[in-house]
Every structure is written in structure tokens, then in C-alpha cells.
Symmetry: C2
Subunit: 199 residues, 2 copies
DNA sequence: GCAGGAGCTGACCGATCGGTCAATTACCGT
DNA sequence: ACGGTAATTGACCGATCGGTCAGCTCCTGC
């Protein structure tokens, strides 16, 4: 028997459908993605989609839920680990890696986190994002500092996530280079290190 | 005659409908906004919407087109004015003012610029955004510098635009303060001034 | 060889979509 | 008082939406 995977062997239909759904949700939006389109894109029928996933909303949960789990654990580690400059540097690195490894899912719940309010999985994502902002930005920070954090996180997220939108054609940058550049810019903006420059 | 406006006096129905549509497009998305919802929100019937605007797409054009015009002229001025540090500082200020004055429209075409590809008005917005990135970022810039520009522009845009998403409840910051803080952060990131620090 | 379950599908459902149209109302200059 | 135009609306259209259901094929354990 050539199969080396214990249970499913071959690619599982539910995985193909989940991936196709994720691509649709990220590129045309949840509301504008029909089950028919997702099914066509994956090579199945609409009924098959609803066989593997109870509803369109359950499909969204399956598509972006795991990425939200990762974000939550990332956030939990950071909160538990203190706010030393070293800890912040580690966090920035892990955060960039998270962005690079979950572009489609992040694109989905960042760009549509407002319009899809009410869906449980989206509420979970919004809560995590808010926790991220709160934890990395001290409560007593000045507006300018809060703005610095906001610009850094939102800018990094959006640059990676929407980069595909405006420069998809000639995007031949290696992920490693993008990673290094992004970590550099974020460190510059976020690291409090040894006292903030007066400016 | 108490009317002081030459032609319409009172609020015009088409303006109310356009504003209601803009709010819907920005908050729940173009695809998820039905003409019925927009009409209800403005206090008219769906037929009235289609009387004042030929189609849903024409309504989008009316809602965000003027803001795109502003962005285009802003970009044109900057391209024509050179890239001196002073010119860049002026541009940053005007750009932040543009963001503050066109939040809903910017939210709409930034967040949905990818999913709504194909609509002429959206193509115009995407072209303007691309031109913005190209013009402010020299062609020979390193990846790290390009990333700095991307993070700054995207971060500023998204911070203002999606601020409502995650901290709408307690958003009592005065626009003037936000403006100053944002200009400060953007200047810090973008101004090439007298030679870039080695870093 | 065959019962039975998993995987998959087409037909169908009520609701809603964007859009058309004819009819009605309100308001204007003459 | 009246004709005409702008504004507004409900009824209606075909298409598509998310979702249900019965039935089909295929594989597997016995």
C-alpha cells in the first residue's frame, strides 16, 4: 500500500475547499464570496461544500480560526513574558513571522473585521487585535506614542497583506528579505530600549 | 424668501442618499450593502435611490469619486513640486489632512480596492494609490526603505481609517491632536532630510 | 456477495439581490 | 385653474443567494 498517511491519504476534499474558501474570502471578501464560486474554484459542487462545512460561517471559522489561535498564543506569550527590550524584539520577530505565514487569513480578518461584526470567529479576531494593541502600548502612553504603535502594527500588517493588491505583478522579493526589512522598520518604531529619544 | 441657496435650498435627497451610501459602503462593505438598506438608512425607498443614481455602481462613484479627485490632485502637486525635505513635509501635512477629511471614502477604497477590482472608480483609486507609493519612494530605494514608506503610508491610513473599528467606543481624541501626532510619526519615518542614517 | 456508511451531487426552496416600469404625488410658471 | 416636469413609490422581473434533501456512486468490513 503506497499510502504513507495513516488515515486520509491523498489530499482531503475538506482541505481543498477550506483553502479555496480562504483565497476567496481574502481576495473578494466574505460577503461577495458565494458558496458556488468557492465550490467551482475548488472543483466541487456547492452541495459538497455544505456537506463538509455546516454553513458559510463555519467555513470562515475553519479558514481563519487556526490563524487566530496562533495570534492569541503569540499575544499570550508576550503578555506573560514582560516588556523588556529583549522581549519586545522577540515579539516583533514572531509577529512578523506570523504575518508572513498567515497572510490570507490575516488579510481576511483585518480588512473585514469591522464589516463582519457579529460572527463569533470575527469577534474573537477583533478581541485579539485589540488585546495586541493594548498590551504593546502602555496605558499611560501619549497620543503620539499610541499613534506610533498603531502605525507600526497596522502598517506592517497592511503592507504585507495588501502588498498583493498594488504590486502583485512584480512581487519577486524573497520572503526572507521582506522579513528582515520589516523587522528592521518595526524595531525602529517600537523598541523603547533605553529611554525614548526626546525629540 | 428665507432660502439663501440659489437653487436647491433645504437638504437635497441625492446628498442624503449619497452620504447614507458612503456610510454603508465604509462600514459593511460595498458587496454587503444592499440598495434597500441604503434607502432605509436614508429614509427613502429603493426606487428613489435608483432614480437619483443610475446604478449601485454609480452610487459608489458619487460617494468616493470626489475624494479620489482630491487624492489625485494632491499627488499631482507633489510630483510637480519636487522632493525636497520641505516639499515632503508639506506633502505629509496635506496627506494627513486628506485622510482626516475623507475617512469614510478612504476606508472604502483602501479596504476594498482589491475586492472591487473592475469597477472604473476603484481602478482610478488603485492607480492613484500606486502612483502615491511610486512617487514618494525612489525607484532605486532599498527594500528596507520601500518598506519604511509602505509602513508609514499604510499605517497612517489604516490607523485613522480602522481606528473606528477597534477603539470607536472611547475615541475622544480631538482631530487636531491626532493630526499633530500623526504628522510627527510620519515625518520621523519618511523625511529623508540630510542623508539617511546608516542604521 | 452484500449491507452500509461516507462522499458527492442535482433539484429544489424561500429570501433577497440589482434593476425596470407605470402610476401617483407635489410643485412650478403661466 | 391648468399643463408639465421633477420626485417618489410599489409592483414586478430574472438572477442569485445560503441552505435542505433525496438519491447516486463507490469503497470497505464482514
Amino acid at each position: 500500500m503506497p499510502s504513507d498517511a495513516p488515515v486520509p491519504s491523498r489530499v482531503r476534499a475538506s482541505d481543498e475547499l477550506r483553502q479555496a474558501a480562504l483565497e476567496q474570502f481574502a481576495t473578494v471578501g466574505f460577503a461577495a464570496s458565494s458558496l458556488q464560486q468557492i465550490a467551482d474554484h475548488a472543483g466541487y459542487s456547492k452541495s459538497s461544500v455544505l456537506y463538509h462545512y455546516a454553513s458559510k460561517e463555519a467555513l470562515l471559522e475553519a479558514a481563519i480560526g487556526p490563524s487566530i489561535d496562533l495570534l492569541e498564543s503569540l499575544l499570550g506569550d508576550f503578555v506573560a513574558g514582560g516588556r523588556s527590550a529583549a522581549a519586545q524584539a522577540v515579539f516583533i520577530e514572531r509577529f512578523v513571522d506570523f504575518l508572513l505565514g498567515n497572510r490570507l487569513a490575516v488579510h481576511t480578518f483585518v480588512n473585514q473585521g469591522q464589516s463582519l461584526r457579529g460572527l463569533p470567529v470575527i469577534e474573537r479576531a477583533n478581541t485579539a487585535i485589540r488585546g495586541l494593541a493594548d498590551s504593546i502600548c502602555a496605558d499611560d502612553a501619549s497620543l503620539a506614542e499610541q499613534m506610533r504603535f498603531g502605525v507600526a502594527l497596522a502598517g506592517a500588517t497592511y503592507t504585507l497583506v495588501a502588498g498583493a493588491t498594488f504590486l502583485d505583478g512584480d512581487q519577486q522579493f524573497a520572503d526572507d528579505d521582506v522579513r528582515d526589512a520589516l523587522i528592521s522598520v518595526l524595531s525602529e518604531l517600537l523598541l523603547t530600549a533605553d529611554g525614548r529619544p526626546t525629540r
